[in-house]
């Protein structure tokens, strides 16, 4: 199980409170986490990454374990602490996106 923290506007859009918990098995990457997230909350499709290219939207960032993962390859395994649920994956709206 991994924990995902969404920015406020996406929590409202997905109608969730607090963190989202996703059951995953095997290697966990940003891509696979987002695949699961979008399957469970289809209204989030297109809001974090592009529908077609699957590229991260320019004003979205990914943080975990006090590291900026926004620019690592989307198929890079997430840190073990995220995979075990000890630390959340933070999906963040960039400071200057509004």
């Amino acid at each position: 199980m991994i924990r995902v923290v969404l920015p406020q506007h996406l929590r409202i859009l997905a109608r969730v409170n607090g963190e989202v918990e996703l059951d995953v098995t095997g290697s966990v990457t940003i891509d696979s986490a987002l695949d699961l997230l979008e399957t469970r909350y289809p209204m989030l499709r297109g809001t974090i990454r592009d529908h077609v290219t699957k590229c991260r939207r320019p004003f979205i960032r990914f943080f975990a374990c006090e590291r900026d993962l926004s620019h690592v390859a989307m198929d890079t395994p997430l840190p073990e602490a995220v995979v075990t649920g000890t630390e959340p994956l933070l999906i963040v709206g960039a400071m200057a996106g509004g």
Binding site: H9, L10, M43, G46, H51, I60
Partner: protein
């Protein structure tokens, strides 16, 4: 008892203003989708409970919202629990998926278009500027988008297909206006269901006579002396808004970047009707609900000074289809007013006497229940108003 419902899109959410037929007392509901830009909301003429909304942000991109209960509750189409239990068992979440159609069967090659400096840039979807529900089917709706294209949904906004023939009408020569290269106006008419008009900044006006399959530019008579190397080019003009009266669909009125114009032949030719306006720059243009020759504009000082001339907020009305205009000022600020009124932010209702409404970038929504003779602020302190649409509830 008749009533009216104003759908107001702002820079930071949507607001729904309602009143009875007297249009004296208003209730303000909102913000809906607080923090998001609501470029446009519009109700279905075939089902007033069905409202479509374009919600977007720089962070999270485009979202389409739909209400089936007159704006009380909203959902992105295709993501309600009953939608998720469809025949294929898989959620789609494609209501915000606008992909240009470059297929050999129905599409157009995805070329480039002009950038501000005349260089070429690739087509890239940015947002939905305008939603135009079908006049007869609540599940059919058109979307005008940036970079300029028109999309159609026939399943209530769950999925969208581009009417790509439009980009074939000299698309590589189109260029962005100051707000982006946006398709902002879509005109439909019950009497001619296969005929559609659209307008694009900065490409011009276009007409289809086969329900959107093919399109041709209809810009003869438009002159852009300082904006284009060829002032009367076939495409490239910065058309800000066009409108028509449904009873007279061959007569169109246009507010261009500069100049107010009129066509009496379904867009085949245009002539200037700016007449005695203090400035013929502006954004919205509207036609009276019961007087097809009565037209409204809001003059703005210039293309760089987006505020009313002399700091006086004046709606101008022509009762003779143009050239002779009268200033409507009663109830509007006549000093120190420096707001703008955007292209989708003025609308009329269908009651008698006809009501007219507009929203400003200063967050005011003004209304007139007497055809523009007198005005009152319905609400004063909203975020900057991007669009105002009206539903007349009979």
């Amino acid at each position: 008892m008749s009533g009216v419902r104003l759908l107001v899109g702002t820079k930071k959410g949507a607001f729904i203003l309602t009143s009875d037929g007297k249009r004296k007392q208003w209730t303000v509901d909102g913000p809906h989708f607080g923090g998001w830009e609501l470029y446009h909301l519009k109700g279905s003429p075939a089902d007033p409970n069905r409202i479509y909304a374009s919600q977007s942000s720089s962070w999270f991109g485009q979202v389409i919202q739909r209400s089936d209960d007159g704006g009380k509750t909203w959902n992105p189409p295709g993501t309600k629990p009953e939608d998720l239990m469809g025949a294929d068992g898989m959620p789609k979440g494609e209501s915000n998926m606008f992909v240009y159609d470059a297929s050999a069967e129905t599409g157009q090659p995805l070329t480039t278009h002009q950038h501000y400096d005349g260089s070429q840039r690739p087509w890239e979807f940015k947002r939905v500027w305008h939603l135009e529900p079908s006049l007869t089917d609540p599940d059919t709706v058109y979307a005008g988008v940036e970079d300029a294209a028109i999309f159609k949904s026939t399943d209530g906004g769950k999925t969208w297909l581009e009417l790509a023939g439009l980009r074939g009408a000299k698309g590589p020569l189109w260029q962005p206006g100051a707000g982006g290269m946006c398709l902002h106006t879509i005109l439909l008419n019950c009497g001619q269901p296969d005929r559609m008009f659209v307008a694009i900044s900065a490409a011009g006006a276009f007409r289809s006579d086969d329900a959107g399959r093919t399109w041709k530019p209809v810009n003869k008579g438009l002159v852009s002396k300082y904006e284009l190397p060829d002032p009367d080019a076939e495409v490239g003009h910065c058309v800000h808004c066009i409108t028509m009266h449904p009873a007279r669909p061959n007569v169109l009125f246009m507010q261009k970047h500069w100049n107010v114009l009129r066509s009496d032949d379904g867009g085949a030719s245009w002539r200037e009707i700016s007449g005695n306006l203090p400035s013929d720059f502006g954004f919205p243009i509207a036609v009276h609900a019961h007087e097809p020759n009565t037209v409204y504009v809001v003059p703005i000082k210039s293309d760089s000074e987006h505020y009313p001339p002399e700091g006086k907020l004046r709606v101008y009305r022509s009762k003779v289809g143009g050239n002779e205009w009268e200033a409507l000022t009663k109830g509007l600020p006549q000093q120190n007013c420096y707001v703008n009124i955007l292209r989708d932010a003025m609308v009329v209702d269908q009651l008698d006497p006809c009501g007219i409404y507009f929203g400003t970038t200063g967050g005011q929504v003004y209304g007139s229940a007497d055809g523009g003779d007198s005005w009152t602020p319905i609400v004063r302190d909203l975020p900057a108003v991007l669009s105002v649409e009206m539903q007349t509830l009979l």
